[in-house]
């Protein structure tokens, strides 16, 4: 038993080291791009990116956590689906539909008192996000439609539907944004206002971070427990690894595909709720025909976190940190588009170099298997 624990720990450490290694490669790549685009300011720019959220003190770090919150959720969404053998590209659609549901309830259901109001809004976001993933889940399980195709389609349907519904119900036409939610629907600060602020004369310049980050961390822990400690997680992962053997063992693999997708969708939907239930100073839904970046960034977050829920917390914070650093690059002579490119390169290169790293042992294993089966082929049956 103790031995087993040591082994798991050893594995975890290995994984963390390989993630850090990937991040370093990503940063090096980002530096190269900085050099190409603006050689004179490259070193200064790189330092600003590295300083990330710290550039503006306590408030800056608070913003890092605020923007990490939805990334943790979409990362969990992608990572959880991935662990169960599904590739959920639809986090963007699930996220924006969840966001709409949460803001709608936040604006309209003013009859609810404070804690119930934001709780109801989060729950509604989970439901709608789950519903948005239910459709691809059903199509995958019963019609064998690949979830990558159907979730991408659902992304666009979700984006246009959310835009339309916002314009119909909760649109602030002066700002072209969704309306402010009622104060009772705003997530409480959860003690974070004592930490993440910049002194401003006699007052405080508060960060928008709130207890959403706590909720995200708790959900990550819950997902970790479900995946690793429950028979439900055992079944889900079994289906992801080998659906034939799962069927052979009597696991209802169709039901599990649908459930996996719904849970993934609910997570992404809650991500939308946690980002937008942040009061007047926080984010509002912009009514534009662009897919939510939080949804797509869930993919590199999950990759960098190796789909491990705990790893995803850290990879989301890292990506949010780098993104914040990018925002401060504007103080130098960098065009916003170039900044986006640099940051995107760092993020995606980190994730992909890691993906590549995790492929190498597989290649080794594959070639080993091949050579083994070449020897094994001797016997009457052979393999395959």
């Amino acid at each position: 038993m103790k031995k087993a624990k040591d082994m798991v720990l050893g594995d975890g450490l290995n994984n963390a080291i390989s993630s850090i290694f990937a991040v370093l490669i990503g940063l090096a790549f980002g530096f190269v791009i900085l050099l190409i685009t603006n050689p004179g300011e490259a070193v200064n720019g790189f330092i600003i990116i590295l300083k990330g959220g710290f550039s503006t003190g306590g408030k800056g770090m608070g913003q890092v956590l605020y923007f990490a919150t939805p990334l943790i959720l979409t990362g969990l969404s992608v990572g959880f689906a991935f662990k169960t053998g599904l590739f959920n590209i639809g986090a963007a659609g699930q996220f924006i539909m969840g966001a709409f549901a949460a803001v709608y309830i936040g604006v309209k259901w003013t009859f609810l008192p404070a804690p119930l109001h934001w709780m109801a809004a989060i729950l509604a976001a989970a439901l709608i996000g789950g519903l948005w993933a239910l459709i691809p889940g059903l199509m995958k399980a019963y019609l064998n439609v690949h979830e990558v195709i159907s979730t991408i389609m659902m992304n666009y349907i979700g984006m246009y539907t959310a835009n339309h519904l916002i314009k119909l119900t909760i649109y602030d036409s002066k700002k072209a944004l969704s309306m402010n939610t009622a104060p009772s629907a705003v997530l409480p600060k959860g003690g974070l206002d004592y930490v993440f602020y910049n002194p401003l004369g006699i007052g405080k310049d508060l960060s928008t971070v709130n207890s959403g980050i706590w909720i995200a961390v708790i959900l990550a822990v819950v997902m970790y427990i479900i995946l690793n400690k429950t028979t439900f997680g055992y079944e889900l992962k079994a289906c992801g690894f080998n659906k034939y053997a799962s069927k052979y063992a009597g696991i209802n693999e169709k039901r599990n595909i649908v459930l996996s997708m719904v849970i993934a969708g609910a997570l992404a939907g809650m991500g939308g709720a946690l980002l937008y239930l942040s009061g007047a100073n926080g984010r509002h839904i912009r009514v534009v025909d662009v897919l939510a970046m939080e949804g797509f960034n869930g993919i590199p977050v999950a990759l960098l976190g190796l789909s491990n829920p705990i790893g995803i917390i850290f990879s989301a914070i890292f990506i949010s940190y780098i993104t914040q650093g990018g925002n401060y690059l504007q103080t130098l002579e960098f065009v916003p588009e170039i900044i986006d490119i640099i940051i995107a390169c760092i993020i995606y290169f980190s994730a992909f170099s890691l993906a590549f790293r995790s492929i190498i042992p597989r290649i080794i294993r594959f070639s080993k298997n091949r050579s083994e089966s070449a020897i094994k082929k001797d016997d009457n049956g052979g393999e395959e």
Binding site: M1, K3, A4, M7, K229, T230, T231, F232, Y234, E235, K237, A238, F241, N242, Y244, A245, S246, K247, Y248, A249, G250, I251, N252, I364, R365, S367, K368, S371, E372, A374, I375, K376, K377, D378, D379, N380, G381, G382, E383
Partner: protein, 509 residues
């Protein structure tokens, strides 16, 4: 005596394993030379080296005394080396003729000259007595015929050295006899033949000399006529092997599995893979379904275990109708299943050994408490099974099942399936791809649970296995049961006739 091909001191390593360790093989012109060894002895690797698919780390290959280098199979072909693979390399919707000339087509100005090719093929098949219809589609002809096409392919390319990789695995006893005769004729005509096998009878029947490999090492080359089967098997395995399995006569009790009028559709087309099959399996007996691969065995098993739906019929266990139950409900009703493809159906390769051991039981109160897994119980349970079934692995119960050997993977499945204390155990080719030691072990396990009063349905393609351990044999041909016989009342030849569909008896349940 001069050698046509010499492989001298060949060493081929793969990461973590030496597949061939200083092996020498010398093939005389016009002889049939058998290459004997267990699974994993390195026979296929050695042949792959000769065929140019692998480059050896050490050693040289000589043809007619001159050293040659083989970088790819084309080099082998140019040197006149041809191979009949265990799984034929034929294009199924092409004709025999098209398959034979594939890759060496005679053309004129870019157009095929089929007439010349046809003449040559007909001439060759006359010369060697390999009669085939050149215009028949591969998918329409028997496996034995397909093998002839493979042989014709080699002859058409004017190969002098012919390698046969486990050629008899897919044939009926009658077809095997024919193949032996063809091989002898070819040798007589001056062709040199390398014959890979682990079946001693066939070596005795056809080969002149035999080279034995064991665990990647060269054990020796012997003259077949002066060496007994026992001596050869001892060289192959490294110890004395008992060929007959000790087994008391069966004492069948009441019926456990009852199948009536079972009809199952074939995958992908309208034909029925299993047609109106009825049989019983009783407590304390091993019933074996014998037949050539692809005669409906897989579909029958899938239908019995609930993995595919059925068209018609009734299945019951201990008089309980399970026809409409799902897989889990059938398992709980007392059905255990050792699947044909252990890596695809039987194991989750990304899980550890203990996670695989609980695959059929994780949801029971023994291992589950309000949805949570009881890890301590699982570890205890797994350690227990590892001891009981002598499962060997690198890191104990947490070993990744992927890294374990085939024999030990199979032991994990057998341990799991026997542990659920089934009413009926369906074992599909349980010894496939395993070495002699593991086969002995599995046979003894099956017999011992039979003696405990379990019912066993064994599906096997190996006639030796069928004759050795079954108490009753059902022969399946094109989805129908064509014979229901006792092993002591039937000869292998007779079984072969049933399996080939040329004989059938009225089968009463």
């Amino acid at each position: 005596m001069e050698y046509i091909i010499e492989m001298l001191n060949i060493t081929k390593e793969f990461p973590g394993i030496i597949a061939n360790d200083d092996i020498t093989l010398q093939l005389r012109k016009g002889e049939i030379h058998a290459l004997l060894g267990e699974n994993g002895a390195g026979k296929s690797t050695l042949m792959s080296v000769l065929f140019g698919m692998y480059q050896p780390e050490k050693g040289i290959i000589k043809k007619n005394g001159k050293e040659v280098k083989l970088k790819d199979p084309n080099d082998a072909n140019n040197l006149g080396i041809g191979m009949v693979h265990q799984h034929f390399k034929l294009v199924h919707n092409f004709t025999v003729l098209q398959n034979i000339i594939l890759g060496v087509e005679t053309t004129k100005n870019g157009f095929l000259k089929m007439d010349d090719a046809r003449e040559k093929v007909v001439a060759i098949s006359k010369q060697y007595g390999l009669m085939v219809n050149p215009d028949a589609l591969i998918e329409d002809i028997t496996v034995g015929m397909q093998q002839r096409v493979e042989i014709l392919k080699m002859l058409y390319r004017e190969n002098e050295i012919l390698i046969f990789d486990e050629p008899t695995a897919v044939l009926t006893p009658q077809e095997i006899d024919e193949l032996m005769k063809i091989m002898k004729d070819l040798a007589e005509e001056g062709k040199s033949i390398l014959f890979i096998t682990h079946k001693l009878n066939e070596i005795k029947q056809a080969a002149d000399r035999c080279t034995v490999l064991r665990k990647g090492k060269y054990i020796g080359t012997i003259d077949v006529k002066t060496t007994s089967k026992e001596e050869m098997s001892e060289m192959m395995v490294g110890r004395k092997v008992d060929f007959t399995t000790d087994k008391k006569p069966a004492t069948p009790g009441e019926t456990v599995l009852q199948v009536r009028d079972l009809t199952v559709a074939a995958k992908g087309h309208g034909n029925k893979a299993v047609k109106n099959v009825s049989f019983d399996v009783k407590r304390g007996e091993i019933v074996c379904i014998a037949g050539i691969d692809g005669n409906g065995q897989s579909e029958l098993v899938y239908a019995l275990t609930g993995l595919v739906g059925i068209d018609n019929g009734k299945i019951s266990i201990n008089d309980k109708n399970i026809t409409n139950l799902n897989v889990r409900q059938r398992n709980v009703s007392g059905l255990a299943h050792i699947p044909e493809d252990r890596q695809k159906d039987g194991l989750i390769l990304d899980y550890s050994m203990s996670q695989n051991l609980i695959l059929k039981k994780y949801f029971t109160p023994q291992f589950e408490n309000r949805g949570f897994i009881k890890f301590d119980e699982i570890n205890e349970f797994s350690e227990d099974l590892v001891k009981k079934f002598d499962i060997r692995s690198g890191q104990g119960i947490n070993t990744s099942i992927r890294s374990m050997s085939g024999g030990n993977q199979q032991k994990v499945i057998i341990a799991r399936e026997i542990d659920v204390d089934p009413e009926i155990l369906i074992a599909v080719q349980p010894t496939r791809g395993l070495d002699v030691g593991a086969i002995e072990y599995i046979h003894n396990q099956l017999i011992s649970i039979r003696d405990e009063g379990k019912a066993i349905l064994l599906i096997s393609l190996e006639l030796d296995e069928v004759m050795n351990i079954s108490d009753r044999i059902l022969v399946i041909y094109e989805g129908e049961i064509v014979a229901n016989v006792k092993p002591e009342e039937v000869t292998i030849q007779e079984l072969g006739l049933y399996m080939a569909g040329s004989k059938r008896s009225e089968v009463a349940v």
